[in-house]
Symmetry: C2
DNA sequence: AAAATTAATGATATTGATTATCGATTTTTT
DNA sequence: AAAAAATCGATAATCAATATCATTAATTTT
């Protein structure tokens, strides 16, 4: 594990309130990719007074500060996860919805090359793989 | 060029009405990736009586029939294009919004490999590159 | 070919996620 | 401590997309 979101906020000068700190903590502890409703549920368990508006505001703030990243997977609502130094992409099980993270340096390199070939500098990319589990027993 | 959308409908047994035929024609002639509002504008010029509801219904029908494909690029509304045999991905100019199509067989292969490595069969994928134009005169 | 049935359309209401507003509360600055 | 600024909770507004429903068009049955 790396820096906690709270520490990142300190570092980046993002002011923390009790509500933000709680959202930060819950997101730091999450190992999945919760959407806002799910996140709201989790923080509500600890602070039942928190407003869904604050959750929306805070993930947006954190995203704009480069602390969280937002995913818009096929057809669903926006999901969030902590942004750490190691970039990764996602393989999504179309049956179960399970999300597997992966990195493929070769693909990353080729993406840059494609952009260059067209006269562009790559500034961002989105790679999502959708798959079905293979039958392992023969 | 390949088959027209109207012909594809015939082939796939998708019933055509005047409105659907018009939407099919406009989409077949499009070389870009219009969203529903833009498409509605284009067909309205020819048939001012057409309803936006019909446009929404028809792109959905065509998509479910494998005739159109829907793109959900970052932050915007859904965009559509005709689905032809040759698959391609997109490089988006973040300044101008211009969309460049590309195919990279190497990336395509590697994606399959990544899925396999995790015990999955790749059934779909989304690859979007976001770039800024390079300064060519240097 | 007329009647009955089914499908598609246009207009509009509804939904669902997200953003905006606004008065109240908390925090920071004078 | 008063004034100003920031954040909050509650809720209204927005926006894309879907659902509803009465009307019109197409298809099937008599
Ligand atoms: Mn992830
Ligand atoms: Mn395209
Ligand atoms: Zn990547
Ligand atoms: Zn591809």
């Amino acid at each position: 594990m790396t820096d906690t979101i709270e520490q990142k906020c300190l570092l980046k000068g993002v002011k923390l309130t009790d509500q933000r700190r709680l959202i930060a903590k819950v997101m730091s502890e999450a190992s999945d990719h919760p959407d806002v409703d799910e996140l709201y549920k989790r923080v509500s368990k600890i602070d039942p007074k928190i407003s869904i508006a604050t959750v929306y505001r805070t993930v947006k703030l954190f995203e704009e500060s480069g602390i969280l990243t937002k995913h818009e997977f096929k057809g669903g609502k926006a999901r969030y996860e902590e942004l750490n130094e190691g970039h990764h992409d996602h393989l999504i099980d179309v049956k179960s919805g399970e999300i597997i993270e992966f990195v493929d340096e070769e693909i990353e390199e080729l993406q840059k090359k494609v952009a260059e070939k067209h006269g562009y500098t790559l500034v961002d990319h989105k790679l999502e793989l959708y798959g079905v589990k293979k039958n392992l027993n023969k």
